[in-house]
């Protein structure tokens, strides 16, 4: 097969207005043609940040991104001062969470992650018990 038989298709995502700084948040999901599609949605309730929710069957992953560590902000039940936070729910139960440059993260008013100084911290729920990872 020659190269000309396999064209490259390019998606160009550009900002409407010129600026010196910008942030993008992109989710990529690869599936077979018959595979179940995830539902990917932007979270528009973020003030000065970006967020995306990815749902598939009863699983949900939320990724939140701010420009810098911030005052505790609650979005979709996730309250954190971290710069980046990821929360995974299964059947409505939080099964995993992680934060970058944060000192606290709570989901649905349950404190899950904490640190004395801004740090990268994660945790998982195993056998029904929440455990922070070292």
């Amino acid at each position: 097969m020659s190269l000309s038989d396999t064209p490259a298709h390019r998606l160009i995502v550009s900002r409407s207005s010129p600026k010196c700084e910008g942030r993008f948040l992109t989710a990529l999901a690869a599936r077979s043609l018959g595979g179940e599609l995830p539902v990917i949605e932007s979270l528009s309730t973020l003030d000065g940040g970006l967020g995306v929710r990815i749902r598939k069957q009863n699983e949900e992953v939320i990724v939140l991104l701010w420009e810098a560590a911030n005052e505790p902000t609650a979005v979709e039940g996730v309250a954190t001062d971290a710069r980046i936070a990821v929360v995974r729910r299964s059947g409505g139960v939080v099964m995993g969470a992680a934060m970058l440059e944060g000192t606290q993260l709570a989901v649905d008013a349950e404190d899950l992650l904490f640190a004395d100084t801004p740090a990268m911290v994660g945790g998982v729920r195993l056998d029904g018990t929440w455990r922070m990872l070292p």
Binding site: H9, R10, E21
Partner: protein, 106 residues
């Protein structure tokens, strides 16, 4: 004779963001990319995704690239409003205004 290491640049250390998402390995079905861009002068910064299959829009902020057997969904957002466009490259002529795409074929 030269040693291999003389031709090899030191590895670029991962950023905190890369370490963060690398440590979330084990959930590889969706990849999330965080891009922070800084320009010397104001400019309409853009991201380029070069795909194997034709592109079509499939919802708000979402495109899909479809090949004979697979689909790739691309959902991208920014703190500013975004414009979207697509192009298809075949043989890229010399001096073409847009950067060519380079593909590794295995």
């Amino acid at each position: 004779m030269t040693l291999a290491r003389e031709h090899t640049s030191p590895p670029v250390p991962m950023t905190d963001e890369q370490k963060f998402f690398f440590d979330l390995r084990g959930r590889p079905d969706v990849f999330v990319l965080c891009d922070e861009v800084t320009a010397k002068e104001p400019e309409p910064v853009e991201l380029n995704f070069t795909c194997l299959g034709s592109l079509s829009r499939c919802g708000d902020s979402q495109f899909q690239s479809t090949t004979a057997t697979n689909r790739l969904f691309i959902h991208s957002q920014s703190t500013d409003e975004l414009d979207w466009s697509t192009r298809t490259f075949h043989d890229v002529p010399v001096g073409y205004a847009c950067p060519p795409s380079h593909r590794l074929t295995l």
